[in-house]
């Protein structure tokens, strides 16, 4: 798990352009999403000195004044924002497909391959996204369920301190459940990419089984990345609140810090997917064969592997009695012999094996 975490960062390091794409689109869409509001601000306050007031006071007065006096403009801005958000969601599904496809291929980045992967997996990813969203909403039912249990156990009239801590527990659990569901969703997408789009339902099933069987590793890896995200978010929030946008200069500082934060967040995103890919494949090196047996697709498996997974060929899977079977690279340098370019993160899955992990459990020897 720890090594998959390390490999994740390594994988992101090998594909800085992926981080760049996510970062740029994220910033670009945020900028576009603010455009309707900027337009309203500019047209209604562009020639006003109201900005000379401290922001805390100004924003409150300004927004309330604006909302009252410019209802139509305000509503239009909100509608424009909603459209941009919808577009962003669709684009992010496309980019997730393109990113995972690129990471899985282990080949040097190319725009054509990036776009091709995006197009190839888009609809499967979209299907998964919709399933995930529905389940995510259903998972929030855990909160009323716990509320019902709470009433059953504590009665209608518990002390507020008990209720507060029960709520903390309830929401933490709901968060962890939805968060782990997101990890399962990630593994389902990874499975889809690894198995070349067999079926998103089957991939989801396999991801579920994987996430249950390898709960410690999958949960732990996710937790590591969550920890990093929280640390970054805390530092960013601390800086932002400290700046408090009390002058135009500090506003610029906030913009820059926000941009830096977005860059780091997208770096974390790519690293996490790369790490999850390493873990998923590392713990199930023969996932492809199993997938094709399961889905009974009569295809030349070797052909597919050859065409899309050059990095995988360089692994030899070893197993011994009472020792988990793991994939190890053919050479230590992890370099593609043809291109001399470092291979993708999952080519280092040998490093994933540790006593802490359940690597290779029940895996057939290849």
């Amino acid at each position: 798990m720890i090594k998959a975490f390390r490999l994740g960062w390594k994988g992101a390091g090998r594909y800085p352009v992926l981080v760049g794409i996510w970062f740029t689109t994220n910033i670009l869409f945020a900028w576009i999403a603010t455009a309707p509001f900027r337009r309203v601000f500019a047209s209604h306050a562009g020639h006003s000195l109201i900005g000379d007031q401290p922001l805390g006071l100004m924003s409150f007065n300004y927004v309330s004044d604006l909302m009252v006096t410019e209802k139509v403009a305000w509503t239009s801005a909100q509608a424009g924002f909603s459209m941009v958000v919808l577009l962003w969601i669709l684009l992010s599904v496309f980019m997730a497909a393109a990113t995972l496809g690129t990471l899985e291929s282990g080949r040097p980045f190319s725009w054509v391959r990036f776009a091709g992967n995006g197009g190839r997996y888009f609809f499967s990813f979209l299907g998964l996204f919709l399933v995930m969203a529905v389940v995510l909403v259903l998972m929030l039912l855990v909160v009323p369920l716990f509320a019902w249990l709470q009433t059953l156990i504590l009665g209608e009239d518990p002390y507020q301190n008990i209720v507060v801590w029960m709520n903390v527990f309830k929401w933490t659990l709901a968060f962890l459940l939805t968060w782990y569901w997101k990890r399962i969703f990630d593994y389902a997408r990874i499975d889809l990419v690894l198995t070349k789009k067999s079926s998103f339902r089957i991939s989801l099933k396999r991801a579920l089984v994987f996430s249950v069987r390898n709960f410690r590793s999958a949960f732990g890896l996710g937790l590591c990345f969550l920890g990093v995200s929280l640390v970054v978010f805390t530092i960013y929030t601390w800086i932002k609140i400290g700046a408090n946008v009390s002058s135009t200069m500090l506003a610029v500082v906030v913009i820059l810090v926000g941009i830096l934060y977005t860059a780091i967040r997208n770096w974390i995103r790519v690293a996490q997917w790369s790490g999850e890919l390493a873990l998923y494949y590392g713990l199930q090196p023969n996932i492809r064969e199993e997938a094709f047996v399961e889905s009974e697709i009569e295809t030349n498996v070797d052909e597919i592997f050859e065409s899309t997974l050059p990095g995988i060929d360089q692994f030899q899977v070893v197993a011994a009695e009472a020792v988990p079977a793991v994939a190890v690279p053919a050479d230590d340098d992890e370099v593609d012999p043809e291109t001399n370019i470092p291979l993708q993160s999952n080519s280092g899955v040998d490093q994933v094996a540790s006593d802490d992990d359940d690597l290779g459990t029940n895996k057939p020897e290849v």
Partner: protein, 673 residues
């Protein structure tokens, strides 16, 4: 055992007399005084009581009948005026529609006129004359003076066989039974073993100077109006119950069935409320000459000191800024969980707050509510204005003083909320409400006749706070302080009206302030000034024909002299600034015009016309103009149009964009699953 009880009762009596009156001389006219013996049956939320009332007719008109409020009948069923107006909801709380209804039934009422030698003064009910044998049995009938809703049983009239003459008094005796709503709703009620008992007894209305009774039904959007008097209330409750009440505790005695009788005495108050629960945890402290008692719920004990601190702030600030709080004590009640309907309410010497376990210090709800509710002990208790008809005199003035105090303690920009990333000041909060709907109603009108609940709230609380804040800027802080102090001093223990306040404002201001209050209180006019146009045009040499040319020059095609381009520093500009009054509220305003050589010019405008132009000729162009540059008119409903710059002002757009861009980046990052 009975002997033992007798001794206890005797000592209780001795103790009662030993306590003596609270004040050496009455502070108020003491028109309506009460003695009530009430027995609480917790399991049924039932109050069984006997009541004696001593009422004086201080008007010049004989009183041929009496009128009373039976407030608890507002919760009798869903046909009362209150329930029809509220739809069963009040400040987010709902009555239990199956088992939570409340009521009050007046079982018996008798009375007799007092003779001239029986008119007191009566320091305590123990000095009251006896009822005697010549009592009248009095009947009553329900009346609906406001809306003719025959199902509303919240007001009654009691015809008298003989009128109470001017200056005369009547002694009344009766019994009643009341059931408290559950959970606490609209300030009163019960939840499990917590009881907050407000508006709970038949309360005599106010006979006004013209001989007419002022007795309104209980409405959703309204509070109360009553005369001053003394109260002696004996509350019988289970022995392990703690009692908090208006007034001072005189004695605690045991009953034969093992319960306790708490006797509280209050003077110069116009209402009486009490609470009881076995779960109260007591905190006490002292603020100047006022003893503070805080009764906290067990799950809020960690906030006891916080409540105490807020109460101390409230007492000290009000006494330092507005005048003496003559009462020796203040009790602060923390409502039980599930009983928020009894929170945030004021009674003489007793207020209720409201908190939640884990409420951060930076969310100053506790402080805000305690300072606000204590403020009512000035604006509603010392100055018993008519809250049915002129709510602003209580809630509005109180909102203004609450904001002043909160801002002074916690800072102007973060007095209500001060948590990382979010700061909101009290006056800013009021202004945002004011802006959201200040023009639907005049400030002053009968409380239940506003356009809707929101308009009632704005016109009763936030709008008057903003009006008074504007007045403070107009008069200056010193004069405003004198105005408030004079109002308290001159009208304490009376029923002041808006006219009284305006008269003092005019006196302090040294001018008739009718022009301001007539617009602010009795119309829905709003202030909205704007800078509509600024422009600078270079002044060039005159061109065209002038009187130096002759007809021959024209016929001979003599060319006009070409104008020479002046150097930049020699250029003269004609600048024009146009200011408009978009609102219909006329208020004098200042205008600040800034030129590109740094010169700043201040202009004054009385605002009488709907626009005003200012012209300047100088070697500088105008760069910006601002109406109300010192932000002295918070009543202006749109601050964005108060200024205009020649070039686009990037600052507000940049800063708002920074703020929103920052939020959107994170949002999009989260949405990219």
């Amino acid at each position: 055992m009975k002997c033992c009880y007798a001794w206890v009762a005797l000592w209780a009596c001795i103790f009662t007399y030993a306590q003596g009156p609270i004040f050496e001389q009455p502070l108020s006219p003491r028109i309506a005084s009460y003695r009530i013996d009430v027995d609480l049956q917790p399991e049924h939320r039932l109050l069984t009581a006997t009541q004696r009332i001593l009422w004086r007719n201080t008007t010049d008109h004989p009183a041929t009948e009496l009128q009373f409020h039976l407030y608890l009948n507002a919760f009798r069923n869903d046909q009362s005026t209150f329930m029809k107006e509220s739809g069963g909801r009040h400040r987010g709380n709902e009555i239990d529609g199956k088992k939570g209804w409340g009521f009050i039934d007046l079982h018996h009422l008798a009375g007799r006129l007092l003779t001239e030698d029986e008119t007191g003064p009566f320091w305590s009910e123990s000095q009251w004359p006896a009822m005697g044998d010549e009592e009248w049995v009095l009947n009553h009938e329900f009346i609906q003076p406001d809306d003719d809703n025959k199902d509303d049983k919240t007001t009654i009239r009691v015809p008298l066989p003989e009128p109470v003459p001017p200056g005369g008094s009547i002694l009344l005796e009766g019994s009643f039974e009341a059931c408290l709503p559950s959970p606490p709703f609209a300030r009163t009620g019960a939840k499990e073993d917590y009881f907050f008992v407000g508006q709970w007894f038949p309360k005599i209305a106010v006979l006004e100077a013209d001989g007419q009774w002022n007795c309104h039904q209980f409405h959703l959007n309204s509070e109360f109006f009553a005369d001053y008097g003394t109260y002696d209330v004996y509350m019988t409750v289970p022995s392990d119950y703690v009692v908090g009440s208006t007034g001072l505790e005189q004695s605690v005695s045991d009953t034969e069935d093992g319960r306790k009788i708490h006797h509280y005495h209050a003077e110069d108050v116009h209402d009486f409320a009490w609470t009881t629960s076995p779960e109260f945890v007591e905190f006490s402290g002292q603020a100047q000459d006022v003893a503070i008692r805080v009764l906290m719920q067990k799950d809020h004990v960690g906030q006891g000191e916080r409540h105490l601190r807020a109460a101390k702030h409230a007492v000290e600030y009000f006494q330092n800024w507005y005048g003496d709080y003559p009462f020796p004590n203040l009790t602060v009640i923390d409502p039980r969980r599930g009983a928020a309907g009894s929170g945030g309410m004021e009674y003489p010497t007793l207020i209720t707050a409201g908190t939640h376990y884990g409420l951060p210090e930076g969310i100053r709800a506790v402080e805000l509510v305690i300072i606000h509710e204590f403020g009512h002990n000035f604006w509603y208790h010392l100055l018993a204005s008519n809250e049915f008809e002129e709510t602003w005199l209580d809630e509005g003035i109180n909102s203004y003083t609450e904001a002043k105090i909160m801002n002074d303690i916690y800072g102007e920009h973060a007095s209500v909320i001060d948590i990382p990333g979010l700061k909101i000041g009290n006056m800013v909060f009021h202004r945002s409400r004011y802006v959201s709907g200040s023009n639907l109603d005049p400030t002053v009108r009968d409380a239940w006749t506003y356009y809707n609940g929101s308009s009632y709230g704005i016109n009763s609380y936030s709008k008057p706070a903003i009006i008074l804040s504007t007045l403070e800027h107009y008069l200056g802080e010193d004069k405003m302080s004198r105005l408030m102090k004079t109002y308290v001093k001159r009208h304490s223990f009376t029923h002041p009206t808006s006219d009284d306040f305006v008269a003092i404002a005019s006196e302090i201001a040294g001018e008739d302030m009718g022009w301001f209050f007539d617009q602010a209180l009795y119309t829905n006019k709003v202030i909205d000034y704007s800078v509509s146009f600024i422009k600078s045009v270079e002044i060039k040499e005159a061109s065209g024909f002038d009187f130096s040319m002759t007809r021959d020059d024209l016929l001979n095609d003599v060319e006009l002299d070409e104008e020479e381009e002046a150097a930049d520093e020699d250029k003269n500009y004609r600048s024009e600034v146009r200011v408009r009054r978009l609102g219909d509220f006329v208020f004098p305003v200042e205008i600040e015009v800034v030129f590109d050589d740094g010169e700043v010019v201040r202009e004054s405008w009385d605002g009488q016309d709907i626009w005003k132009k200012f012209f300047y000729e100088r070697q500088a162009k105008v760069t910006s103009a601002t109406v109300d540059p010192d932000a002295k008119i918070p009543m202006d409903i749109n601050l964005v149009n108060n200024s205009k710059t020649e070039k686009i002002a990037r600052a507000p757009v940049t800063r708002m964009t920074a703020s929103w861009l920052d939020k959107f980046q994170i949002l999009l990052d989260l949405l990219a699953l």
